[in-house]
Amino acid sequence: MDYSVNYDVIWRNLHNLFYGLGLGLYMALVSVALGSLIGLVLAFSLVSKRKLFRVLSGIYVAVIRNIPLMIIILFIYFGLPDVGLTFAEQPSFIFALTIYTGAYIAEVFRGGLLAIPKGVGEAGMAVGMSNFQINIFIKIPILIRSVMPALSNNYISLFKDTSVAAIVAVPELTFQTRKINTDTFRTIEAWSSASVLYVVACLLIAILLRRVERRVAIPK
């Protein structure tokens, strides 16, 4: 094997790799934020008294969770233009990722809602709060604190999922890496760097999010 490892090309392209990394982190952040809104609505439907809400939201969650992210992206990016809905690469990817993660977050939130003791809601009723007020001022704040660890994990796995955006040419880390690979044939350097960047980024986010979790946790 006559291949001598030389990381020069990586150092020269480091700004591109970091740009790609940042783009991934950004897209994951937007998706987790929008996905949380979808997840919140779905979670309240999943525990609703009305059967129709439960069934519809249950179908959404079951369907989306069992379809690969890549298929959702291909459908949105290549399929939807057939009916006149055309999005640019990045918005369509964020759209896909949001729809995708909404189903997972819904399940997390549902579990969180069910874990809130019934008496806490009743105490809200007893001091004269409406259902809406109980949801806004009591249940959702408790929910958000209790699901933070799960939401953190969700964010990290979403960040990894942003690699799939490369297939619709969103210039995130995987796309940048592939470009370096094809441009320079520095295959080992390119992919090892990408792997290390992903792993280190995941690790750092995890540490950062643990701190956030501790801050928002309900004091004990």
Binding site: M1, Y3, A62, V63, R65, N66, I67, P68, L69, M70, I71, I72, L74, F75, F78, G79, L80, P81, D82, V83, K160, D161, T162, S163, V164, A166, I167, T174, T177, R178, N181, T187, I188, W191, S192, A194, S195, Y198, V199, V200, A201, C202, L203
Partner: protein, 218 residues
């Protein structure tokens, strides 16, 4: 549905079935190999001395920090540079196996460590050796506990198998792209792909629930 779609669907039936077969083949092998490797890594992760534990921990954390797609591309491109010429299919199966192995290892550790201390002490008290305790007490309880997570990993691995289309494995996704390249019915055929994956993954999930009920401790 337009007659165009049904004609095209009929015309593509054989390559489509081939694609589904490939998807199931790749996913199945990845889950089997991943489970075997996962157990091999998971045991030192739980019971190993410092060095073994560290190595197993480094492996699982590293693999779990890398996106599946990057794992697949790395495997495919890097190994060929290193002179190991795997076919796309082999590289795809290998990288998906590694992906699932890290998850299996981690869930096995969680499951084994969750077995109550009192159980282990009770086993010791009746004179079981470490190995016997593991085999007859810890493992059966851990396996029941990790079954739902394991099924989940199986579904994730199957979903991840779409990504091997990128290195040229002709599974469902790539078949769809070939079909669409001919007839431009993107929406219909990607929707069909979604439906097929849903059926496969949902079946795995249901099967998992069924097994869970069968082996549940009453």
């Amino acid at each position: 549905m337009s007659t165009g779609f049904s004609n095209e669907l009929w015309a593509s039936r054989f390559i489509l079935l081939d694609g589904i077969g490939t998807c199931i083949f790749v996913s199945f092998l990845a889950i089997v190999f991943g489970t075997i490797v996962g157990i091999v890594v998971g045991l030192p992760l739980t019971y190993g001395n410092f060095i073994f534990r560290f190595l197993a921990r480094a492996y699982t954390d590293f693999i779990r920090g890398i996106p599946v797609l990057v794992l697949i591309l790395t495997f495919y491109f890097v190994l060929s540079v290193l002179g190991l010429n795997l076919t796309a299919m082999q590289a795809g199966i290998a990288s998906l196996s590694i992906f699932s192995s890290a998850h299996v290892a981690e869930m096995l550790r969680g499951g084994l460590q969750n077995v109550q201390k009192g159980q282990i002490e009770a086993a010791k008290a009746v004179g079981l050796s470490f190995f016997q305790t593991f085999l007859y007490v810890s493992l059966p309880q851990a396996l029941r506990q990790i079954l739902p997570t394991w099924i989940n990993t199986a579904v994730e691995t199957t979903k991840g198998s779409t990504l091997v289309s990128i290195i040229g494995v002709v599974e469902i996704t790539l078949v769809m792209q070939q079909i669409i390249g001919r007839n431009f019915l993107s929406m219909e055929f990607y929707a069909l792909a979604g439906l097929i994956y849903f059926i496969i993954c949902f079946s795995i999930e249901r099967f998992g629930k069924f097994i869970e009920k069968k082996v549940a401790i009453k």
